[in-house]
Assembly symmetry: C2
DNA sequence: TTTGGATAGTGTAAAATTGACACAAAGCTA
DNA sequence: TAGCTTTGTGTCAATTTTACACTATCCAAA
Protein backbone atom coordinates (compact mmCIF):
# COMPACT_ATOMS: atom_id res chain seq x y z
CA UNK A 1 0.00 0.00 0.00
CA UNK A 2 1.06 3.57 -0.56
CA UNK A 3 2.34 5.56 2.41
CA UNK A 4 2.77 9.26 2.80
CA UNK A 5 6.17 10.27 4.12
CA UNK A 6 5.79 10.77 7.82
CA UNK A 7 7.02 13.80 9.72
CA UNK A 8 8.81 15.32 6.79
CA UNK A 9 7.75 18.71 5.66
CA UNK A 10 11.09 19.70 4.21
CA UNK A 11 12.19 19.62 0.62
CA UNK A 12 13.36 16.74 -1.46
CA UNK A 13 17.05 16.96 -2.16
CA UNK A 14 17.42 16.74 -5.93
CA UNK A 15 20.98 15.46 -5.73
CA UNK A 16 20.83 12.47 -3.43
CA UNK A 17 18.72 9.35 -3.54
CA UNK A 18 18.67 6.02 -1.79
CA UNK A 19 18.13 2.67 -3.47
CA UNK A 20 17.28 -0.52 -1.64
CA UNK A 21 18.32 -4.02 -2.47
CA UNK A 22 15.57 -5.89 -0.66
CA UNK A 23 16.68 -9.48 -0.27
CA UNK A 24 14.30 -12.34 0.38
CA UNK A 25 14.68 -16.11 0.45
CA UNK A 26 12.00 -18.38 -0.98
CA UNK A 27 13.47 -21.38 0.88
CA UNK A 28 15.20 -22.34 -2.33
CA UNK A 29 17.14 -19.33 -3.48
CA UNK A 30 17.97 -15.74 -2.78
CA UNK A 31 15.56 -13.25 -4.32
CA UNK A 32 15.30 -9.48 -4.69
CA UNK A 33 12.26 -7.26 -4.70
CA UNK A 34 12.26 -5.29 -7.95
CA UNK A 35 10.04 -2.63 -9.40
CA UNK A 36 8.57 -3.03 -12.83
CA UNK A 37 8.68 0.37 -14.48
CA UNK A 38 6.27 -0.71 -17.16
CA UNK A 39 6.12 -0.71 -20.93
CA UNK A 40 6.93 2.94 -21.40
CA UNK A 41 10.33 2.77 -19.77
CA UNK A 42 11.21 -0.49 -21.40
CA UNK A 43 11.48 1.03 -24.83
CA UNK A 44 15.12 1.88 -24.32
CA UNK A 45 16.14 -0.03 -21.23
CA UNK A 46 15.37 -2.76 -18.77
CA UNK A 47 11.98 -2.56 -17.12
CA UNK A 48 13.17 -3.72 -13.75
CA UNK A 49 14.78 -1.43 -11.19
CA UNK A 50 15.62 -1.33 -7.52
CA UNK A 51 13.13 0.60 -5.41
CA UNK A 52 14.50 3.97 -4.46
CA UNK A 53 13.75 7.61 -4.05
CA UNK A 54 15.20 11.03 -3.44
CA UNK A 55 15.91 11.88 0.17
CA UNK A 56 14.35 14.68 2.15
CA UNK A 57 16.64 17.41 3.34
CA UNK A 58 16.02 16.73 6.99
CA UNK A 59 16.13 12.94 7.16
CA UNK A 60 19.29 10.96 7.55
CA UNK A 61 20.26 8.27 5.09
CA UNK A 62 19.16 5.29 7.16
CA UNK A 63 15.79 6.89 7.70
CA UNK A 64 15.43 7.49 3.99
CA UNK A 65 16.19 3.87 3.24
CA UNK A 66 13.69 2.71 5.85
CA UNK A 67 11.13 5.06 4.35
CA UNK A 68 11.61 3.63 0.87
CA UNK A 69 11.20 0.16 2.29
CA UNK A 70 8.14 1.14 4.28
CA UNK A 71 6.50 2.92 1.37
CA UNK A 72 6.90 -0.12 -0.83
CA UNK A 73 6.19 -2.96 1.55
CA UNK A 74 4.73 -1.50 4.71
CA UNK A 75 7.56 -3.17 6.62
CA UNK A 76 9.73 -1.51 9.21
CA UNK A 77 12.16 -2.64 11.84
CA UNK A 78 14.01 -4.56 9.20
CA UNK A 79 17.67 -5.50 9.03
CA UNK A 80 19.31 -2.79 6.97
CA UNK A 81 22.91 -2.17 6.00
CA UNK A 82 24.55 0.42 3.80
CA UNK A 83 26.29 -0.80 0.69
CA UNK A 84 27.86 2.47 -0.31
CA UNK A 85 27.49 5.51 -2.51
CA UNK A 86 27.31 5.33 -6.27
CA UNK A 87 27.84 8.47 -8.21
CA UNK A 88 29.10 8.24 -11.76
CA UNK A 89 27.97 11.44 -13.44
CA UNK A 90 26.62 9.34 -16.32
CA UNK A 91 24.80 6.78 -14.22
CA UNK A 92 21.43 8.03 -15.46
CA UNK A 93 22.61 8.68 -18.92
CA UNK A 94 20.02 6.74 -20.84
CA UNK A 95 17.22 8.81 -22.26
CA UNK A 96 14.55 6.38 -21.14
CA UNK A 97 15.82 6.56 -17.61
CA UNK A 98 15.72 10.34 -17.62
CA UNK A 99 12.18 10.39 -18.92
CA UNK A 100 11.13 8.09 -16.15
CA UNK A 101 12.90 10.14 -13.55
CA UNK A 102 11.11 13.20 -14.78
CA UNK A 103 7.85 11.46 -14.06
CA UNK A 104 8.75 11.03 -10.41
CA UNK A 105 9.71 14.66 -10.08
CA UNK A 106 13.51 14.65 -10.07
CA UNK A 107 15.20 17.22 -12.25
CA UNK A 108 16.59 15.01 -14.96
CA UNK A 109 19.45 17.38 -15.67
CA UNK A 110 20.76 17.26 -12.14
CA UNK A 111 23.48 14.85 -11.22
CA UNK A 112 22.17 12.30 -8.74
CA UNK A 113 24.25 10.38 -6.27
CA UNK A 114 22.62 7.37 -4.79
CA UNK A 115 23.33 5.69 -1.52
CA UNK A 116 22.55 1.99 -1.73
CA UNK A 117 21.31 -0.18 1.11
CA UNK A 118 20.46 -3.80 1.39
CA UNK A 119 17.78 -5.17 3.64
CA UNK A 120 16.88 -8.68 4.67
CA UNK A 121 13.20 -9.47 4.93
CA UNK A 122 11.46 -12.75 5.65
CA UNK A 123 9.73 -13.26 2.35
CA UNK A 124 6.53 -14.44 4.00
CA UNK A 125 6.15 -10.97 5.51
CA UNK A 126 5.52 -9.36 2.16
CA UNK A 127 3.53 -10.74 -0.74
CA UNK A 128 3.49 -8.26 -3.61
CA UNK A 129 0.03 -7.57 -4.95
CA UNK A 130 -0.71 -5.64 -8.08
CA UNK A 131 -2.61 -2.47 -7.37
CA UNK A 132 -3.50 0.54 -9.43
CA UNK A 133 -1.57 3.02 -7.36
CA UNK A 134 1.02 0.85 -5.65
CA UNK A 135 4.23 0.33 -7.56
CA UNK A 136 4.35 -2.95 -9.37
CA UNK A 137 6.85 -4.97 -7.38
CA UNK A 138 7.92 -8.58 -7.53
CA UNK A 139 10.38 -11.00 -6.04
CA UNK A 140 12.96 -12.14 -8.58
CA UNK A 141 15.61 -14.82 -7.95
CA UNK A 142 18.96 -13.06 -7.93
CA UNK A 143 20.69 -15.41 -10.29
CA UNK A 144 18.02 -14.88 -12.92
CA UNK A 145 18.81 -11.18 -13.06
CA UNK A 146 21.03 -10.18 -15.94
CA UNK A 147 20.27 -6.49 -16.28
CA UNK A 148 18.56 -3.66 -14.44
CA UNK A 149 17.84 -0.01 -15.10
CA UNK A 150 20.44 2.71 -14.44
CA UNK A 151 23.46 1.32 -12.60
CA UNK A 152 21.28 -0.92 -10.49
CA UNK A 153 22.84 -4.13 -11.69
CA UNK A 154 26.19 -2.93 -10.44
CA UNK A 155 24.59 -1.97 -7.13
CA UNK A 156 23.02 -5.39 -6.83
CA UNK A 157 26.37 -7.07 -7.31
CA UNK A 158 27.93 -4.86 -4.66
CA UNK A 159 25.09 -5.67 -2.28
CA UNK A 160 25.51 -9.41 -2.86
CA UNK A 161 29.21 -9.11 -2.11
CA UNK A 162 28.58 -7.17 1.08
CA UNK A 163 26.04 -9.71 2.20
CA UNK A 164 28.43 -12.55 1.42
CA UNK A 165 31.16 -10.95 3.49
CA UNK A 166 28.84 -10.05 6.31
CA UNK A 167 27.36 -13.49 6.74
CA UNK A 168 30.83 -14.88 7.31
CA UNK A 169 31.06 -12.64 10.35
CA UNK A 170 27.56 -12.34 11.74
CA UNK A 171 24.61 -14.77 11.62
CA UNK A 172 22.35 -12.29 9.85
CA UNK A 173 20.84 -15.00 7.68
CA UNK A 174 18.09 -15.58 10.21
CA UNK A 175 16.55 -12.31 9.10
CA UNK A 176 15.66 -13.99 5.83
CA UNK A 177 13.94 -16.99 7.36
CA UNK A 178 10.59 -17.48 9.06
CA UNK A 179 10.87 -17.61 12.82
CA UNK A 180 10.76 -21.40 12.79
CA UNK A 181 12.97 -23.02 10.21
CA UNK A 182 14.78 -26.24 9.47
CA UNK A 183 18.50 -26.81 9.30
CA UNK A 184 18.14 -27.71 5.65
CA UNK A 185 16.57 -24.35 4.91
CA UNK A 186 19.38 -22.61 6.73
CA UNK A 187 21.83 -24.75 4.82
CA UNK A 188 20.33 -23.79 1.47
CA UNK A 189 20.30 -20.16 2.51
CA UNK A 190 24.02 -20.18 3.25
CA UNK A 191 24.74 -21.96 0.01
CA UNK A 192 22.80 -19.43 -2.02
CA UNK A 193 24.40 -16.44 -0.32
CA UNK A 194 27.92 -17.81 -0.43
CA UNK A 195 27.24 -19.14 -3.92
CA UNK A 196 28.96 -22.44 -3.31
CA UNK A 197 27.96 -25.87 -2.08
CA UNK A 198 28.54 -26.70 1.57
CA UNK A 199 28.81 -30.24 2.86
CA UNK A 200 25.59 -31.08 4.68
CA UNK A 201 27.05 -32.81 7.71
CA UNK A 202 29.88 -30.35 8.15
CA UNK A 203 27.48 -27.45 7.88
CA UNK A 204 25.14 -28.88 10.51
CA UNK A 205 28.00 -29.66 12.85
CA UNK A 206 29.40 -26.15 12.55
CA UNK A 207 26.07 -24.46 13.12
CA UNK A 208 25.17 -26.69 16.05
CA UNK A 209 28.51 -26.09 17.71
CA UNK A 210 27.88 -22.34 17.69
CA UNK A 211 25.01 -23.03 20.02
CA UNK A 212 22.86 -20.15 18.86
CA UNK A 213 19.87 -22.23 17.82
CA UNK A 214 17.02 -23.40 20.00
CA UNK A 215 15.65 -26.74 18.93
CA UNK A 216 11.88 -26.81 19.14
CA UNK A 217 10.01 -29.99 20.00
CA UNK A 218 8.16 -29.62 16.77
CA UNK A 219 8.35 -31.13 13.33
CA UNK A 220 7.49 -29.99 9.86
CA UNK A 221 4.01 -31.05 8.77
CA UNK A 222 2.64 -32.01 5.39
CA UNK A 223 5.92 -32.58 3.63
CA UNK A 224 6.08 -35.67 1.41
CA UNK A 225 9.19 -36.99 3.13
CA UNK A 226 10.72 -37.34 6.54
CA UNK A 227 9.78 -34.17 8.38
CA UNK A 228 12.52 -31.99 9.78
CA UNK A 229 12.83 -30.65 13.29
CA UNK A 230 12.20 -26.93 13.58
CA UNK A 231 14.60 -24.45 15.13
CA UNK A 232 14.59 -20.86 16.27
CA UNK A 233 17.43 -18.38 16.33
CA UNK A 234 18.39 -17.68 19.92
CA UNK A 235 19.30 -14.02 20.29
CA UNK A 236 20.50 -14.33 23.90
CA UNK A 237 22.91 -17.12 23.16
CA UNK A 238 24.21 -15.17 20.22
CA UNK A 239 24.86 -12.18 22.47
CA UNK A 240 26.85 -14.40 24.83
CA UNK A 241 28.87 -15.60 21.88
CA UNK A 242 29.74 -12.14 20.57
CA UNK A 243 30.67 -10.98 24.04
CA UNK A 244 33.63 -13.32 23.83
CA UNK A 245 35.00 -11.38 20.87
CA UNK A 246 33.80 -13.95 18.38
CA UNK A 247 33.59 -12.53 14.87
CA UNK A 248 34.17 -15.33 12.42
CA UNK A 249 31.90 -18.10 11.32
CA UNK A 250 34.56 -19.62 9.16
CA UNK A 251 32.64 -20.26 5.98
CA UNK B 1 51.95 21.48 -2.82
CA UNK B 2 48.72 23.01 -4.01
CA UNK B 3 47.14 21.62 -7.16
CA UNK B 4 44.49 23.07 -9.36
CA UNK B 5 41.67 20.66 -10.12
CA UNK B 6 42.45 19.15 -13.49
CA UNK B 7 40.02 18.91 -16.35
CA UNK B 8 37.05 20.10 -14.39
CA UNK B 9 35.30 23.17 -15.56
CA UNK B 10 31.93 22.27 -14.13
CA UNK B 11 30.32 23.43 -10.92
CA UNK B 12 30.94 22.28 -7.41
CA UNK B 13 27.99 20.33 -6.10
CA UNK B 14 27.01 22.02 -2.85
CA UNK B 15 25.38 18.88 -1.46
CA UNK B 16 28.02 16.20 -1.73
CA UNK B 17 31.56 16.05 -0.45
CA UNK B 18 34.22 13.41 -0.09
CA UNK B 19 36.44 12.96 2.96
CA UNK B 20 39.59 10.88 2.98
CA UNK B 21 41.00 8.84 5.81
CA UNK B 22 44.60 8.71 4.67
CA UNK B 23 46.31 5.92 6.57
CA UNK B 24 50.05 5.69 7.02
CA UNK B 25 52.34 3.46 9.07
CA UNK B 26 55.42 4.86 10.78
CA UNK B 27 56.81 1.31 11.24
CA UNK B 28 55.50 1.42 14.79
CA UNK B 29 51.85 2.30 14.58
CA UNK B 30 49.01 3.21 12.27
CA UNK B 31 48.68 6.94 11.58
CA UNK B 32 46.27 9.23 9.78
CA UNK B 33 46.93 12.41 7.87
CA UNK B 34 44.87 15.20 9.42
CA UNK B 35 44.32 18.84 8.61
CA UNK B 36 44.83 21.46 11.25
CA UNK B 37 42.10 24.03 10.77
CA UNK B 38 43.91 26.55 12.95
CA UNK B 39 43.12 28.68 15.97
CA UNK B 40 39.99 30.28 14.58
CA UNK B 41 38.10 27.07 14.15
CA UNK B 42 39.25 25.68 17.44
CA UNK B 43 37.21 28.15 19.46
CA UNK B 44 34.19 25.86 19.44
CA UNK B 45 35.47 22.55 18.22
CA UNK B 46 38.43 20.33 17.54
CA UNK B 47 41.10 21.77 15.28
CA UNK B 48 41.82 18.55 13.49
CA UNK B 49 39.75 17.27 10.58
CA UNK B 50 39.94 14.78 7.76
CA UNK B 51 40.92 16.26 4.42
CA UNK B 52 37.92 16.57 2.14
CA UNK B 53 36.12 18.73 -0.32
CA UNK B 54 32.97 19.19 -2.31
CA UNK B 55 32.73 17.21 -5.52
CA UNK B 56 32.46 18.60 -8.99
CA UNK B 57 29.29 17.85 -10.88
CA UNK B 58 31.04 15.94 -13.60
CA UNK B 59 33.52 13.81 -11.67
CA UNK B 60 32.70 10.49 -10.15
CA UNK B 61 33.19 9.80 -6.48
CA UNK B 62 36.43 7.84 -6.79
CA UNK B 63 37.90 10.60 -8.90
CA UNK B 64 36.89 13.17 -6.33
CA UNK B 65 38.60 11.22 -3.58
CA UNK B 66 41.73 10.86 -5.66
CA UNK B 67 41.63 14.55 -6.35
CA UNK B 68 41.44 15.40 -2.65
CA UNK B 69 44.37 13.10 -2.01
CA UNK B 70 46.35 14.54 -4.90
CA UNK B 71 45.66 18.15 -3.90
CA UNK B 72 46.88 17.51 -0.39
CA UNK B 73 49.83 15.20 -0.96
CA UNK B 74 50.62 15.22 -4.66
CA UNK B 75 50.16 11.45 -4.62
CA UNK B 76 48.13 9.45 -7.08
CA UNK B 77 47.75 5.82 -8.01
CA UNK B 78 47.11 5.06 -4.40
CA UNK B 79 45.10 2.24 -2.84
CA UNK B 80 41.66 3.68 -2.24
CA UNK B 81 38.46 2.15 -0.91
CA UNK B 82 35.07 3.59 -0.15
CA UNK B 83 33.93 3.52 3.46
CA UNK B 84 30.40 4.71 2.87
CA UNK B 85 28.12 7.71 2.90
CA UNK B 86 27.51 9.78 5.99
CA UNK B 87 24.55 12.07 5.97
CA UNK B 88 22.99 13.04 9.26
CA UNK B 89 21.29 16.36 8.59
CA UNK B 90 22.95 17.75 11.72
CA UNK B 91 26.43 16.49 10.98
CA UNK B 92 27.74 20.01 10.50
CA UNK B 93 25.64 21.48 13.22
CA UNK B 94 28.33 23.22 15.20
CA UNK B 95 28.59 26.93 14.56
CA UNK B 96 32.36 26.85 14.36
CA UNK B 97 32.16 24.17 11.72
CA UNK B 98 29.72 26.18 9.63
CA UNK B 99 31.90 29.27 9.82
CA UNK B 100 34.83 27.29 8.60
CA UNK B 101 32.84 25.74 5.80
CA UNK B 102 31.77 29.20 4.68
CA UNK B 103 35.42 30.06 4.27
CA UNK B 104 35.89 27.25 1.77
CA UNK B 105 32.86 28.31 -0.20
CA UNK B 106 30.20 25.78 0.75
CA UNK B 107 26.78 27.15 1.51
CA UNK B 108 26.61 26.59 5.22
CA UNK B 109 22.84 26.28 5.17
CA UNK B 110 22.87 23.44 2.70
CA UNK B 111 22.72 19.90 3.91
CA UNK B 112 25.92 18.10 2.98
CA UNK B 113 26.31 14.40 2.53
CA UNK B 114 29.82 13.13 2.56
CA UNK B 115 31.21 10.00 1.00
CA UNK B 116 34.16 8.74 2.99
CA UNK B 117 37.15 6.90 1.56
CA UNK B 118 40.22 5.45 3.09
CA UNK B 119 43.55 5.29 1.35
CA UNK B 120 46.78 3.49 2.19
CA UNK B 121 49.96 5.39 1.50
CA UNK B 122 53.56 4.46 2.25
CA UNK B 123 54.36 7.15 4.77
CA UNK B 124 57.78 7.76 3.31
CA UNK B 125 56.10 8.97 0.13
CA UNK B 126 54.70 12.04 1.81
CA UNK B 127 56.35 14.21 4.41
CA UNK B 128 54.06 17.09 5.40
CA UNK B 129 55.73 20.47 5.25
CA UNK B 130 54.25 23.65 6.60
CA UNK B 131 53.61 26.13 3.84
CA UNK B 132 51.75 29.40 3.60
CA UNK B 133 49.26 28.23 1.04
CA UNK B 134 49.26 24.48 1.50
CA UNK B 135 46.91 23.17 4.08
CA UNK B 136 48.56 22.41 7.35
CA UNK B 137 48.61 18.63 7.47
CA UNK B 138 50.23 16.15 9.81
CA UNK B 139 50.46 12.46 10.51
CA UNK B 140 48.80 11.54 13.80
CA UNK B 141 48.86 8.07 15.38
CA UNK B 142 45.31 6.75 15.22
CA UNK B 143 45.13 5.69 18.83
CA UNK B 144 46.04 9.17 20.00
CA UNK B 145 42.97 10.63 18.32
CA UNK B 146 40.07 11.23 20.64
CA UNK B 147 38.06 13.81 18.74
CA UNK B 148 37.80 15.39 15.32
CA UNK B 149 35.72 18.10 13.69
CA UNK B 150 32.23 17.41 12.33
CA UNK B 151 31.43 13.70 12.35
CA UNK B 152 34.98 12.86 11.31
CA UNK B 153 35.73 10.82 14.39
CA UNK B 154 32.85 8.53 13.56
CA UNK B 155 34.10 8.29 9.98
CA UNK B 156 37.57 7.42 11.20
CA UNK B 157 36.22 4.58 13.33
CA UNK B 158 34.24 3.25 10.38
CA UNK B 159 37.36 3.42 8.20
CA UNK B 160 39.41 1.54 10.78
CA UNK B 161 36.77 -1.17 10.92
CA UNK B 162 36.67 -1.49 7.16
CA UNK B 163 40.43 -1.73 7.01
CA UNK B 164 40.45 -4.34 9.75
CA UNK B 165 37.93 -6.47 7.89
CA UNK B 166 39.62 -6.00 4.56
CA UNK B 167 43.05 -7.02 5.71
CA UNK B 168 41.66 -10.35 6.85
CA UNK B 169 40.67 -10.99 3.26
CA UNK B 170 43.27 -9.26 1.11
CA UNK B 171 46.94 -8.52 1.79
CA UNK B 172 46.51 -4.80 1.32
CA UNK B 173 48.90 -4.01 4.17
CA UNK B 174 51.79 -3.87 1.76
CA UNK B 175 50.45 -0.57 0.50
CA UNK B 176 51.46 0.95 3.83
CA UNK B 177 55.04 -0.28 3.78
CA UNK B 178 58.12 0.74 1.84
CA UNK B 179 58.87 -1.55 -1.05
CA UNK B 180 61.49 -3.39 0.99
CA UNK B 181 60.43 -4.29 4.49
CA UNK B 182 61.13 -6.73 7.26
CA UNK B 183 58.83 -9.39 8.62
CA UNK B 184 58.86 -7.63 11.97
CA UNK B 185 57.55 -4.47 10.38
CA UNK B 186 54.80 -6.42 8.66
CA UNK B 187 54.07 -8.10 11.96
CA UNK B 188 53.69 -4.79 13.79
CA UNK B 189 51.53 -3.47 10.97
CA UNK B 190 49.09 -6.34 11.31
CA UNK B 191 49.04 -5.96 15.07
CA UNK B 192 48.23 -2.27 14.85
CA UNK B 193 45.51 -2.72 12.26
CA UNK B 194 43.92 -5.71 13.96
CA UNK B 195 44.48 -4.04 17.31
CA UNK B 196 45.61 -7.19 19.03
CA UNK B 197 48.91 -8.97 19.64
CA UNK B 198 49.88 -11.77 17.30
CA UNK B 199 52.36 -14.46 18.22
CA UNK B 200 55.60 -13.77 16.41
CA UNK B 201 56.42 -17.27 15.27
CA UNK B 202 52.88 -18.12 14.30
CA UNK B 203 52.57 -14.90 12.35
CA UNK B 204 55.77 -15.53 10.43
CA UNK B 205 54.77 -19.09 9.70
CA UNK B 206 51.40 -18.04 8.36
CA UNK B 207 52.77 -15.28 6.16
CA UNK B 208 55.56 -17.43 4.77
CA UNK B 209 53.17 -20.24 3.94
CA UNK B 210 51.11 -17.88 1.79
CA UNK B 211 54.13 -17.62 -0.44
CA UNK B 212 53.45 -14.08 -1.59
CA UNK B 213 56.73 -12.60 -0.38
CA UNK B 214 60.03 -12.50 -2.21
CA UNK B 215 62.97 -12.74 0.11
CA UNK B 216 65.73 -10.39 -0.94
CA UNK B 217 69.37 -11.26 -0.41
CA UNK B 218 69.72 -8.09 1.54
CA UNK B 219 69.85 -7.13 5.17
CA UNK B 220 68.90 -4.08 7.15
CA UNK B 221 71.85 -1.73 7.70
CA UNK B 222 72.69 0.54 10.59
CA UNK B 223 70.38 -0.98 13.16
CA UNK B 224 71.83 -1.48 16.65
CA UNK B 225 70.88 -5.14 16.75
CA UNK B 226 70.82 -8.19 14.57
CA UNK B 227 69.77 -6.92 11.13
CA UNK B 228 66.69 -8.36 9.52
CA UNK B 229 66.33 -9.79 6.08
CA UNK B 230 64.35 -7.64 3.67
CA UNK B 231 61.34 -8.79 1.69
CA UNK B 232 59.19 -7.57 -1.16
CA UNK B 233 55.53 -8.20 -1.85
CA UNK B 234 55.19 -10.43 -4.88
CA UNK B 235 52.18 -9.35 -6.90
CA UNK B 236 52.36 -12.25 -9.36
CA UNK B 237 52.36 -14.90 -6.66
CA UNK B 238 49.45 -13.14 -5.02
CA UNK B 239 47.50 -13.27 -8.28
CA UNK B 240 48.14 -17.00 -8.48
CA UNK B 241 46.83 -17.35 -4.96
CA UNK B 242 43.61 -15.44 -5.54
CA UNK B 243 42.97 -17.35 -8.76
CA UNK B 244 42.41 -20.39 -6.59
CA UNK B 245 39.50 -18.67 -4.89
CA UNK B 246 41.49 -17.85 -1.80
CA UNK B 247 39.90 -15.06 0.21
CA UNK B 248 40.76 -15.55 3.84
CA UNK B 249 43.99 -14.88 5.66
CA UNK B 250 42.62 -16.27 8.86
CA UNK B 251 43.68 -13.57 11.30
C1' DT C 1 -1.39 -52.27 3.11
C1' DT C 2 2.63 -52.17 0.79
C1' DT C 3 6.01 -49.96 -1.97
C1' DG C 4 8.62 -46.23 -3.76
C1' DG C 5 10.17 -41.62 -3.57
C1' DA C 6 12.14 -37.92 -1.06
C1' DT C 7 14.61 -35.71 2.43
C1' DA C 8 16.35 -35.88 7.43
C1' DG C 9 19.71 -37.08 10.37
C1' DT C 10 23.95 -39.09 11.93
C1' DG C 11 29.92 -40.51 12.88
C1' DT C 12 34.60 -41.25 11.90
C1' DA C 13 39.24 -41.06 10.47
C1' DA C 14 42.98 -38.50 8.17
C1' DA C 15 44.87 -34.09 7.24
C1' DA C 16 45.56 -29.41 8.16
C1' DT C 17 45.73 -25.63 11.12
C1' DT C 18 46.28 -23.29 15.35
C1' DG C 19 48.27 -21.98 19.69
C1' DA C 20 51.63 -21.95 23.19
C1' DC C 21 56.22 -21.59 24.19
C1' DA C 22 62.32 -20.45 24.76
C1' DC C 23 66.83 -19.81 23.22
C1' DA C 24 70.89 -19.04 20.24
C1' DA C 25 72.70 -15.73 16.57
C1' DA C 26 74.02 -11.21 14.82
C1' DG C 27 74.98 -6.62 14.81
C1' DC C 28 75.81 -2.21 17.34
C1' DT C 29 77.65 0.60 21.26
C1' DA C 30 80.12 1.78 25.11
C1' DT D 1 84.89 -7.56 24.85
C1' DA D 2 80.71 -7.29 27.39
C1' DG D 3 76.17 -6.10 27.18
C1' DC D 4 72.07 -4.59 24.83
C1' DT D 5 68.61 -5.37 21.39
C1' DT D 6 66.09 -7.64 18.02
C1' DT D 7 66.09 -11.58 14.66
C1' DG D 8 65.00 -16.05 13.50
C1' DT D 9 63.78 -20.69 14.34
C1' DG D 10 60.82 -25.93 15.78
C1' DT D 11 57.83 -28.94 18.19
C1' DC D 12 53.99 -30.85 20.31
C1' DA D 13 49.16 -30.95 21.70
C1' DA D 14 44.68 -29.45 20.71
C1' DT D 15 41.45 -28.08 17.52
C1' DT D 16 39.41 -27.73 13.18
C1' DT D 17 38.53 -29.15 8.63
C1' DT D 18 37.49 -32.25 5.06
C1' DA D 19 35.62 -36.14 2.77
C1' DC D 20 32.36 -39.51 2.73
C1' DA D 21 27.38 -43.28 2.92
C1' DC D 22 23.67 -45.32 4.97
C1' DT D 23 19.37 -45.72 7.80
C1' DA D 24 15.04 -43.47 9.44
C1' DT D 25 10.73 -41.22 8.62
C1' DC D 26 7.03 -39.41 6.36
C1' DC D 27 3.79 -39.05 2.25
C1' DA D 28 1.61 -40.74 -1.87
C1' DA D 29 0.35 -43.92 -5.14
C1' DA D 30 -0.71 -48.41 -6.37
Amino acid sequence: MQHKPKNFNSELNPNVSVDCVIFGFDLEQLTVLLIDRGEISSAFGPRLALPGNLIYDNENLDMAANRVLDELTGLNNIYLEQVGAFGDPDRILKESDREWLKSIRAEPEARVITVAYYTLVPMSHYKPQASSFAKNADWVPVNQITELAFDHYEILQAAKDKLKQKIKIQPIGFNLLPQKFTLSQLHRLYESILDKPLDKRNFRRKIQKLNILSSLREKQRGVPHKPSLLYEFNEEKYQELTQTGFDNFGF
